[in-house]
């Protein structure tokens, strides 16, 4: 009895997971040959995700309403002078050009140095972490583990730690960005190096090259466009991340932005965000241009 029950239930599950595909039919349209295909699990995943999404609405205690009036008010104030801080357009432009833009320029310089420093530090590590350049798992796995661990530190915490180590100011910000960059560039690049075409590498080894020389001759040309593209991408992320650095006194425009937001001077916030937006868009254009050109 139990055997037949088991047989039936396993038949049932088999039908759940597999469906029959007809290969050929006879003249009465009856299948003469069939094969089985695993059913797609897309529906299952969709239901799971939709379920979690639905449940999260049930358990979040806040009403899911959007305060349109607030959005309108804040966005309106961002681009016009207000009675609270910058009283006229003249004052708005003066603030934009003499305070906001120079501050952003300083931030860009800080981010550029930090990103470059982090990339330089990441370069040898990404080589050691690629399993096709360094074959031994005893070397590349620990390196991956350590840098992956560094990457799990949230930017905010990293910024606070750096202000403790280097004191308040831009040095702390530069180092926070460098460490943050190290994590991102490391991850993006070693995974990319892992997927490179190894044939020219093998050819280079056969001419008597060391693994490092073979990398520079055979893999670096493959990696180069991605390297610069990722550098710009990281640079762009860092520009935005630098705002958080300012919140904890690690230099950059964050301090200025934080003050303006706390005082609800949204016109000043706007004057800072507009050039920031322009910078980020320019970087994106540059990076997509370089990527297209180099591929």
């Amino acid at each position: 009895m139990t055997n037949t029950a088991n047989g039936k239930s396993s038949q049932f599950w088999h039908k759940v997971f597999y469906r029959t595909v007809v290969v050929s039919v006879d003249d009465k349209n009856n299948p003469t040959k069939t094969i089985e295909k695993k059913r797609s699990k897309a529906l299952l995943w969709f239901l799971l995700v939709a379920g979690i999404f639905g449940l999260s609405f049930v358990f979040i205690n806040q009403p899911a309403t959007i305060r349109m009036d607030q959005i309108q008010a804040i966005f309106g104030q961002m681009f016009t002078p207000s009675i609270w801080s910058l009283k006229t357009y003249d004052q708005y432009w003066a603030y934009l050009f003499s305070t906001a833009i120079p501050a952003i320029w300083d931030t860009i310089k800080m981010v550029l140095i930090g990103t470059t420093l982090g990339t330089i530090l990441a370069f040898p590590l990404m080589l050691v972490a690629s399993r096709n350049v360094v074959v031994s798992a005893y070397i590349y796995q620990p390196v991956r583990f350590i840098v992956d661990f560094i990457r799990t530190i949230p930017t905010y915490v990293l910024a606070i730690l750096c202000t403790v180590f280097f004191g308040l100011g831009e040095t702390a910000g530069t180092w926070a960005i460098a460490i943050f960059t190290l994590g991102i560039m490391f991850k993006l690049m070693y995974e990319y190096i892992d997927t490179c075409d190894m044939n020219p590498f093998e050819a280079s080894i056969s001419t008597g090259a060391t693994r490092l020389k073979a990398f520079s001759v055979a893999l670096y040309p493959q990696v180069k466009p991605m390297f610069f593209s990722n550098f710009l991408y990281t640079f762009e992320i860092n520009i935005r991340a630098s705002v958080i650095l300012g919140f904890v006194g690690a230099g950059g425009i964050g301090q200025m932005l934080n003050n303006a937001m706390n005082a609800q001077q949204y016109d000043k916030v706007g004057a800072i965000l507009i050039p920031l937006f322009v910078v980020v868009v320019c970087l994106q254009l540059l990076s997509s241009y370089l990527r297209k050109k180099s591929l």
Partner: protein
């Protein structure tokens, strides 16, 4: 000169790829190794420059026991051995010139390699290698812009730039069309004769091997079952190597018609 003495090769999974190989290849030989896929042709070829290590026995290449060579010594032996691959193994993104110059990295420090500090003489050598193969006009074109036959010539130029005494070729024409195959094989022949460079090549096409080689080595299941001149390769010999005589349709055709 290449001298195999009692060479065995066992892969880490226990598969015996080469069994008791005793073989001497003289300078200036044009050797073709023939045999079924998986017979050990590639393994045999790749032990010569230690891309695969042998398990036991000794293997002397140009007077040095390569099976015992390590590190710097090994790299110095390798830079005198050119290698050609079935899929050309060029850096697609780099120019032909850069690919050919890469044959010189064995002669430079890491620093010089990274910054591409090759001497003027070496740059000329690279260009002359391209000229010898008739593709000088492609020197500053990206490698992936070239046809298969041209790419294999770039690979040959890279090998020549090493100024080698020996060139190993692992299925050099297996991914080329029949006409290009013949012209690339002609290049091999010319390099062999004009520069007195020993050539050891793995071949799929028996009649191609017979046409170009001065010596044929037949290998079956990791053992040498034939070693002699092309004239000595009879149906009996191909039966020994492939398990049965080759039919006419399995050959490339009358090669002399293409000349």
């Amino acid at each position: 000169m290449i001298q195999f003495t009692d060479v065995d090769k066992v892969y880490p999974n226990g598969y015996k790829a080469l069994k008791d190989i005793n073989l001497t290849i003289n300078d200036g030989d044009f050797v073709c190794i023939i045999g079924l896929s998986g017979a050990g042709k590639s393994t045999l070829l790749r032990t010569i420059n230690k891309m695969h290590n042998i398990t036991s026995g000794s293997l002397v290449v140009n007077g040095e026991d390569i099976s015992k060579a390590k590190g710097k010594k090994l790299r110095e032996i390798r830079r005198n051995i050119g290698m050609i691959f079935q899929s050309f193994n060029l850096v697609n993104r780099s120019s032909v010139f850069k690919n050919v110059l890469a044959g010189r990295v064995g002669y430079h420090s890491t620093f010089e390699t990274i910054f591409g500090l090759y001497t003027k003489k070496e740059k000329m050598l690279a260009l002359q290698s391209l000229d010898k193969l008739g593709i000088l006009d492609k020197a500053f074109v990206r490698a992936d812009q070239l046809s298969g036959g041209q790419q294999q010539r770039v690979a040959l130029a890279r090998a020549l730039t090493q100024e080698p005494k020996l060139i190993l070729a692992d299925e050099p024409v297996a991914s080329l069309d029949p006409v290009t195959t013949l012209s690339v094989m002609d290049d091999f022949k010319r390099i062999n004769k004009d520069f007195n460079i020993t050539i050891v090549a793995n071949m799929h096409h028996v009649d191609l091997a017979l046409k170009y080689a001065t010596r044929i080595i037949g290998i079956k299941a990791g053992e040498i079952v034939f070693d002699g001149t092309p004239d000595e390769v009879t149906d009996e010999v191909t039966t020994r190597i492939y398990g049965r005589a080759l039919k006419h349709s399995e050959k490339l055709g009358d090669l002399d018609k293409h000349d």
